[in-house]
């Protein structure tokens, strides 16, 4: 076997990963250092993905010396690393195949961005325990890396738990806030329920194979000895266990609560990549550990994906908290990914490997794209929150003038997330859409019937996502400042801008030269399906995404961009030639009137009243179109799907009729959280009544229960078993 083989470079990285934790007493230095390490690591992982892990580690300079340094000699020629321990079944073994390398690359890269961002962000937000943050943050990234590289059930569970617990502490990072505590509690409870199902799943696999190693499970998959009932068990347990982490439809409750509460760098990581580790494990289970299942599994996932999608996007539309809006949008994207996964499974079960490879490629590409643009958006929202000290969109506004760079970068993220053409979100969602349309060629009646429905659901969701992001951008960046904080906002420091800029650039790059992103993904897809689809997808001009055999989808992102440029240029010229191009600059919302007094009543007041004037101005600015107002149509149309509390409260009772001061209170809760809560309330009430009857609080009764049991057992024993 390949026990105890590993190469020097991996060990070197392990040592390097420890350094940020060691020098955490200086958070700034530590974060700069860790960002450098993650950059190196991501480059290493990307290259080893492209050129092969074992080959690359030998190709690099000094690698032979490094192997010699750690006493490894020439043993380092395997992509499988195992450390044996003295505890039975617990081996720390790691697998560096294309799929795990792809995810590892994404984690390392996003870790690089997030730590670069946090260098300044930590000091902007004035957190108290900066060193603690550094330790938790690095531990979180490292544990995610170990999760995707683990090739043993038990060691996977260990790192999975570390990942969950560290992210729990990061959600709880601002522990004085009641919101954070509630969110963190919900998160830890739900994630542990998920882990419970994962544990059951792994135990089930253990009973079938007698081993916790993924190798053995893979062999089980190839041999196909798992019965139909066994497959159903595995399917349901994976759905419950990993679905909890991914935030699939009925299990999503923690996601929109926990993600906004973490520091922004961490929310970017959680939304960008942590929830996708669950998708990664689903891929492993559905394509490696299980084979030859029916189309039902894929269809179920497709259905759940569609529900997650529509539910997430509907809730994203009505949120006032910008980070919660982004979290619901993450849920929506998980839905899209699940739909792609379900499609891939359907094609896989029907033996249509080419289409399966295409759907998988779309899935992995969307994972990559979502990591980029959702990371960007969360970082951007963190930049807003750190400058304005609020996440409530009803208190933002007019930021485009205060922070033009952030607003430009954020716009790119918003356009990607709303899946508009020159950006990456569009390409991957288009690919998923294509594979959904191709599902009509599957020879199953039900799937053919449902395909147009799913397609229209996805189209609807796309529209609603655009609505949500128009709201996110329009309300917070356009118009006039609705609060003092938004009025005083400044551009964030350089590193925050730079890290967001990198992501924005990549969003643009992958939106146009999509084939660049598809090259590494092709490796992973090839490993799963044994089909190199890259040549089929990105033919000739390097930018055309298509699948010629099914002759439906041909798209050229570059062509789209050129068309867009030509179109906009034509419009510009048209206006230039035929229109009146005189530009005048007015106050926003001043209706083009040059006299400022028309809008601002109190403009000519003495300096002594300045503060009062500001407050007055802010108050009048609140009469702009607000976030709650923007989403009102959505709330009215889909009122059954929300749990909303709206009140108009009279602030002062006496002034009921003469200019009453009224306060509008709006709270958007999650409908399913409400369901769970009301269910738990009733259930727990019954349980606690029963408990109160049994547990009287008298010590003697407790002992009596024990004795009663003992005596019954003794009698039973002497009655039926006279000999030992």
């Amino acid at each position: 076997m390949q026990d105890n083989t590993l190469n020097g470079i991996s060990i070197l990285f392990l040592f390097l990963l420890l350094i940020p934790v060691i020098i955490s007493f200086n958070p700034r230095l530590s974060l700069i250092f860790s960002s450098a390490i993650y950059l190196l690591l991501s480059v290493f992982l990307l290259f080893s993905l492209l050129f092969g892990f074992t080959k690359l580690s030998l190709m690099l300079p000094f690698s032979v010396q490094l192997n010699g340094l750690f006493g490894l000699g020439n043993a380092a020629n395997s992509d499988h690393i195992t450390y044996l321990t003295s505890i039975p079944y617990l081996n720390f073994s790691y697998l560096f195949d294309s799929l795990s390398l792809l995810f590892g690359f994404l984690i390392a890269f996003l870790g690089f961005i997030a730590s670069l961002y946090s260098v300044n962000y930590l000091y902007e937000e004035h957190y108290k325990n900066k060193s603690l943050f550094v330790i938790l943050f690095n531990g979180f990234i490292i544990s995610m890396l170990f999760v995707v590289f683990s090739a043993n059930g038990l060691s996977f569970l260990i790192f999975w738990e570390i990942m969950s617990i560290l992210s729990f502490f990061l959600v709880l990072f601002e522990y004085e806030k009641e919101e954070s505590k509630k969110a963190a509690n919900l998160y830890i409870i739900m994630t542990h329920i998920g882990t419970f199902f994962i544990f059951l799943l792994f135990l089930y696999m253990f009973t079938k194979t007698g081993s916790f190693s993924f190798e053995a499970w893979k062999r089980l998959g190839i041999s196909g000895t798992l019965s139909a009932a066994g497959m159903l068990t595995v399917f349901i347990l994976t759905l419950l266990g990993f679905g909890m982490k991914a935030g699939i439809f009925p299990l999503h409750v923690w996601l929109p609560k926990a993600h906004p509460e973490a520091p922004s760098g961490v929310s970017a990581l959680m939304s960008g990549i942590m929830i996708k580790t669950a998708i990664y494990m689903m891929l492993r289970f559905y394509f490696e550990f299980m084979k030859s299942y029916g189309w039902g599994f894929g269809f179920t996932i497709l259905l759940i994906g569609a529900m997650t999608l529509i539910y997430g996007v509907l809730n994203a539309g009505i949120q006032d908290n910008i980070k919660r809006l982004l979290a619901y949008s993450s849920m929506e994207n998980i839905g899209i990914m699940l739909m792609a996964l379900g499609l891939a499974m359907i094609f896989y079960s029907q033996g249509m490997y080419l289409l399966c490879a295409f759907a998988l490629m779309a899935l992995l590409f969307h994972i990559m794209n979502h990591a980029l643009f959702k990371g960007l958006l969360f970082l951007g929202s963190g930049a807003i929150a750190s400058q304005t000290h609020t996440k409530d969109m009803n208190k933002l506004g007019g930021l485009i003038k205060k922070m033009p760079k952030v607003s430009f970068i954020f716009l790119i993220g918003v356009l990607s997330a709303a899946t508009l053409p020159p950006f990456n979100g569009f390409v991957s969602e288009w690919m998923i859409y294509q594979s959904l349309l191709m599902a009509s060629s599957v020879n199953v009646e039900i799937i053919r019937i449902f395909t147009p429905i799913f397609a229209s659901v996805m189209a609807l969701a796309g529209g609603l996502a655009a609505l949500a992001f128009v709201k996110a951008y329009g309300i917070s960046f356009l118009g006039r400042a609705r609060s003092q904080g938004a009025n005083n906002a400044k551009e964030p420091p350089f590193l925050m801008l730079a890290s967001m800029g990198i992501l924005a650039f990549l969003c643009f790059l992958l939106g146009i030269f999509s084939f660049i992103g598809l090259i590494p993904i092709n490796k992973a897809v090839k490993e799963i399906t044994n089909i190199s689809i890259y040549k089929n997808v990105a033919i000739s001009y390097g930018s055309i995404v298509t699948l010629p055999k099914y002759s439906m989808g041909v798209i050229s992102p570059i062509g789209l961009l050129l068309a867009g440029i030509v179109f906009i240029g034509a419009i510009y010229l048209f206006i230039k030639i035929f229109g009146n191009m005189k530009t005048k600059v007015f106050e926003t919302f001043a209706c083009g009137l040059e006299n400022k007094n028309v809008y601002n009543v109190n403009v000519n007041v003495s300096d002594a009243q300045l503060i009062g004037q500001d407050a007055c101005e802010i108050k009048s600015n609140c009469s702009q179109y607000s976030s709650a107002g923007f989403s009102q149509p959505l709330r009215r149309i889909f009122s059954g799907l929300y749990n909303i509390k709206e009140h108009l409260i009279n602030e002062e009772y006496k002034r009921k009729y003469f200019f009453p001061v009224k306060n509008y209170v709006f709270k958007a809760g999650d409908l399913f959280e409400y369901f769970y809560n009301s269910f738990a309330e009733k259930f727990l009430e019954k349980i606690s009544k029963l408990r109160a009857r049994i547990q009287g609080g008298v010590v003697q009764t407790y002992i009596a229960y024990i004795v009663g049991t003992l005596i019954i057992l003794l009698i039973w024993f002497s009655w039926f078993h006279h000999t030992l």
């Binding site: 609080g697 008298v698 010590v699 003697q700 003992l710 005596i711 024993f717 000999t723 030992l724």
Partner: protein, 217 residues
């Protein structure tokens, strides 16, 4: 004829006798004394078993019983009772007369359920095992039927004596490591319980565990 087996059984019977006497005790210091004497008989039983089966580990076990249960724990319990000055009488849920009657029933029950060919392998003393079982059940009965926390501890210690008697009678002595572990466990348990009693006393002004149900909600 008093052969060695009957002697062991006699000593076992004394252990049972003092367990029954325990239920009839009205005062805490008397209870502690009874426990001490019971432990002494237990240690003699183990010692004789050691002679009978020629097992050196049983001598050590007997010595440990003597050191911990006859001397250390009663000394400690006496100290605790003096410190919190328990002068009140033992308050039972079930009064003394009925208690003694119930212990009789328990003893009969213990002999009744062990009447058959209970174990295939050989016993050192066949009738010690039902005796030990009776001691265990009486210990638990004391814990149930009395209100004062300190008597419940004594009930627990009685129970533990019963367990050790049963274990030695069935297995010709536990492995020494297990034995030492059990002794240590009981000793620490008694100390912990003593400290706990002190705490209960200071926070509730009484050792009556029925008052502890106030803690509920």
């Amino acid at each position: 004829m008093l052969n060695i087996t009957s002697f062991i059984e006699l000593m076992g019977a004394f252990v049972l006798f003092f367990a029954i006497l325990q239920t009839a005790s009205h005062r805490v210091d008397f209870s502690i004394k009874v426990y001490s004497i019971q432990s002494l008989f237990l240690s003699i039983t183990i010692f004789v078993m050691g002679i009978y089966s020629n097992n050196a580990e049983l001598y050590l076990s007997s010595f440990l019983t003597f050191a911990i249960k006859v001397i250390a724990i009663p000394y400690f319990l006496n100290k605790v009772t003096k410190r919190i000055s328990i002068r009140e009488k033992i308050v039972p849920y079930i009064n003394m007369t009925n208690s003694v009657l119930i212990t009789g029933a328990i003893t009969i029950f213990a002999f009744f359920i062990t009447k058959g060919d209970f174990a295939s392998h050989e016993f050192i003393a066949r009738r010690v095992f039902p005796t030990a079982l009776a001691v265990i059940l009486i210990g638990v009965f004391i814990m149930i039927a009395r209100k004062k926390a300190i008597i419940q501890i004594i009930g627990f210690l009685t129970l533990d004596n019963g367990i050790i008697l049963a274990a030695t009678s069935i297995t010709k002595g536990l492995p020494l490591v297990v034995d030492i572990g059990v002794f240590f466990d009981v000793f620490i348990g008694a100390i912990m319980a003593g400290v706990l009693i002190y705490r209960i006393r200071t926070s509730f002004d009484s050792l009556d565990t029925s008052k502890m149900s106030n803690l509920k909600e």
